[in-house]
């Protein structure tokens, strides 16, 4: 196990040493190559402009950055650990595997990194209410938590199917004082929760900030969520250099919308010998409607204010998706991932429900760590990639969340 460096010192040291991205993406209008942008109802354009300007000001404001850093360190629990998992690695080709422990963040996942940033922005914008969409409930819980901490009203939109399969997180949000609105239209999952959050935002935008939980949506959301999650990769790069004495051969993360993956990938983008591998929800098959592997099976289009890869039919209708993990059950993906795929800088593979659940149980039994089912997709990817690369390999896996919320689903799956 590696003891991470002090957060503040590490941040300063890395500011000088940190590699620069290959290209200055996104551009001023939020385009990552041909992806991203802002295709939004006009009613939201002024709020998006205001948010863009306020975020730029906050980014340049040392007081804002200091407040966020203090919250990440003193409240969220950063820096998170880097844990080597040799008994798990024995099943992954015999090389070394390191987990970035975002599961140890307060509220149980990486989602808190972004939410604390956006909650502080909400205060800066002079707004008193924050809303969010949530799939697995981790972003909803993080948003409800930040709202309680900072004294904001909070409403979370969650598909009815997800409120059923993630009931524990619904109870947590309500405990924290948030209103949870089950969404009963469409597929009743994350996509429809996002639709409903947008509808509410249009009507309440003068006093409400919409805290999008992933690196998707209209500009500036993919940019600002990426920036708030970059801390994962910045810490992990430093930690693995200390622990392994070199850069990893591959960095793996699960991808639904893609925020934890962008977070861990971003600091490694200039390290072109490091493979960046996103693990999508392969569900129970490649047939349309049976998975949520957008980059693996999808085509380009427009959804939720951005141009990106989508799972859609020939008429541009969004397809139903399936994944055992509510947090990956989304038919789109953040535009920066679409760009990383097209440029070849990152690759993406589909992990089936069964492969993810096998990896889930393996980590439980070999290392005493219960991962979120979302994160188990990245673990399953590590089992594959480790076997491909062999015993000399070093892998970094982002363990984006913990699995407490998933024990019911897992118990049913394994018949425990």
């Amino acid at each position: 196990m590696t003891v991470p460096p002090d957060y503040g010192q590490a941040d300063q040291a890395q500011a000088a040493a940190e590699p620069r991205p290959d290209s200055p993406v996104p551009d001023a209008s939020g385009h990552f190559g041909r992806f991203g942008g802002r295709l939004s109802p006009e009613a939201l354009m002024s709020a998006l402009d205001e948010l863009t300007a306020e975020y730029a000001a906050a980014k340049a404001d040392p007081a804002f950055q200091a407040e966020l850093t203090a919250l990440l360190r003193g409240y969220a629990g950063r820096p998170t650990l880097l844990t080597e998992v040799p008994r798990f690695a024995a099943h992954a080709g015999g090389g070394r595997v390191f987990l970035k422990r975002e599961d140890l963040c307060h509220t149980g996942s990486h989602k808190i990194n972004n939410v604390l940033g956006q909650a502080l922005l909400t205060k800066r914008l002079g707004k008193r209410r924050i809303i969010a969409e949530t799939g697995a409930g981790q972003h909803g819980v993080a948003t409800a938590t930040a709202a309680a901490l900072l004294g904001l009203d909070c409403t979370v939109y969650m598909g009815e199917e997800d409120t059923a399969r993630q009931a524990l997180n619904v109870a947590r949000m309500r405990m924290l004082g948030a209103e949870v609105v089950p969404v009963t239209i469409g597929s009743r999952t994350l996509k429809d929760a996002m639709n409903e959050a947008f509808r509410n935002w249009v009507s309440t935008v003068d006093y409400t900030h919409y805290c999008i939980g992933s690196v998707g949506g209209p500009h500036p959301f993919p940019l600002l969520v990426r920036d708030f999650q970059r801390v994962i990769g910045i810490e992990a790069r430093e930690q693995i250099m200390q622990a392994a004495g070199r850069l990893p051969d591959a960095v793996l993360a699960c991808v639904g919308g893609g925020s934890n993956a962008i977070g861990v990938f971003h600091a490694f983008i200039p390290d072109t010998r490091v493979a960046l591998i996103g693990c999508e929800a392969g569900g129970d098959g490649h047939q349309a409607g049976r998975n949520a592997a957008t980059l693996t099976f999808g085509s380009t289009g427009v959804l939720h204010g951005m141009r990106t890869y989508l799972l859609q039919d020939a008429d541009g209708q969004t397809l139903q998706t399936h994944s055992i993990s509510a947090g990956l059950d989304y038919p789109g993906v953040g535009p920066e991932h679409a760009w990383l795929k097209d440029t070849g800088r990152a690759s993406y593979r589909a992990i089936t429900d069964a492969q993810a659940m096998d990896a889930f149980l393996l980590l439980c039994r070999t290392e005493g760590i219960i991962p979120a089912i979302e994160s188990a997709h990245a673990l399953a990817g590590a089992l594959q990639v480790g076997s491909e690369l062999g015993p000399d390999s070093v892998l970094l896996v982002n363990l984006s969340g913990r699995g407490d919320k998933d024990v019911d689903i897992a118990a049913k799956w394994f018949g425990l």
Binding site: S29, G37, R38, L39, S40, P41, E42, A43, L44, M45, S46, A47, D49, I185, G186, K191, N195, F198, R199, V202, S203, V205, D206, G301, V302, L303, H304, G305, L310, Q312, A314, D315, G316, Q317, T318
Partner: protein, 268 residues
């Protein structure tokens, strides 16, 4: 660019010293044939322009009534080809007809191909509620080639700079969202609507039509007092949803159109 059928309809209404009435129904609801009949019933009742909605899986700015109608249209198997067929049938009856559509179906069809198909069907143009002028380049080019109207939305939150940008790319009319919110009937006309229309008129000579929340003849009359057009959607769709039979639905649509048509004539 020659005047489109929609422009002509607004000019005719203005010559009669009244506002134009624009009615909306999604294609494929309650069926493809039923949506054509509903559109024609609106026209018979007095609607000057028809918006045919292109049913889309993720209608971000629509309220529960239109969401439900669109859901039924999609469950019923409505395809883009059916939407173009609906436009052709309504336009063939001499009614100026636009498609109201979220952007992704047009994007997937191919923007140039969609414009060509729409023009061939006799449609006058597109209303695009989630397309910003900044992202509209290919559509503006295709619309110019096929002489189609480009109806973008302005909202009460739009800055003067944005109103200038939006009106500079609009054709046919400008769609003013009366309030900050989603489609659906409201108790009263938003107090923001009049001010928005005044602001828009400082930037363009195009007609300005007001939509969102208008459902009665009295509200139509109120809006017609300051706008060049009154757009009604959810109220028509609600009539069809509530009807005991298709025939009763069409009668209710025709009756509402007549009430609204009286409204747009009552105020001046």
């Amino acid at each position: 660019m020659s005047s489109s059928q929609v422009s002509t309809a607004f000019e005719r209404a203005a010559a009669q010293d009244r506002a134009a009435l624009v009615g909306y129904v999604p294609a494929g609801f309650p069926s493809v044939a039923g949506s054509i009949e509903a559109a024609l019933a609106m026209a018979e009742g007095g609607a000057d322009v028809i918006e045919i909605g292109l049913p889309y899986s993720d209608p971000l700015i629509d309220g529960p009534v239109i969401q439900e109608a669109v859901r039924r249209a999609l469950v019923g198997g409505t395809r883009v080809a059916d939407v173009l067929h609906t436009v052709a049938a309504v336009a063939a009856a001499g009614v100026p007809t636009l498609i109201m559509t979220y952007w992704n179906p047009v994007d997937q069809h191919g923007v140039a191909r969609f414009a060509a198909d729409l023009a061939r069907a006799g449609g006058s143009g597109l209303i695009t509620p989630d397309l910003t002028p900044e992202e509209a380049g290919p559509w503006l080019t295709a619309a110019a080639e096929h002489r189609l109207d480009r109806v973008f939305l302005v909202a009460p939150s739009s800055s003067d700079e944005r109103i200038e940008l939006i009106t500079s790319v609009c054709g046919g009319f400008v769609y003013a969202a009366s309030l900050m919110g989603i489609t659906g009937a409201r108790e009263s006309v938003s107090s923001q609507a009049g001010a928005l229309v005044s602001r828009v008129k400082e930037h363009t000579k195009l007609p300005v039509a007001v939509g969102l929340g208008v459902s009665t003849g009295a509200q139509a009359a109120q809006v017609a007092g300051f706008a060049d057009g009154v757009i009604v959607g959810s109220a028509f769709v609600q009539r069809l949803l509530s009807a005991d039979s298709p025939r009763a639905g069409l009668a209710a649509v025709r009756e509402l159109a007549a009430e609204l048509a009286d409204g747009v004539r009552a105020s001046r």
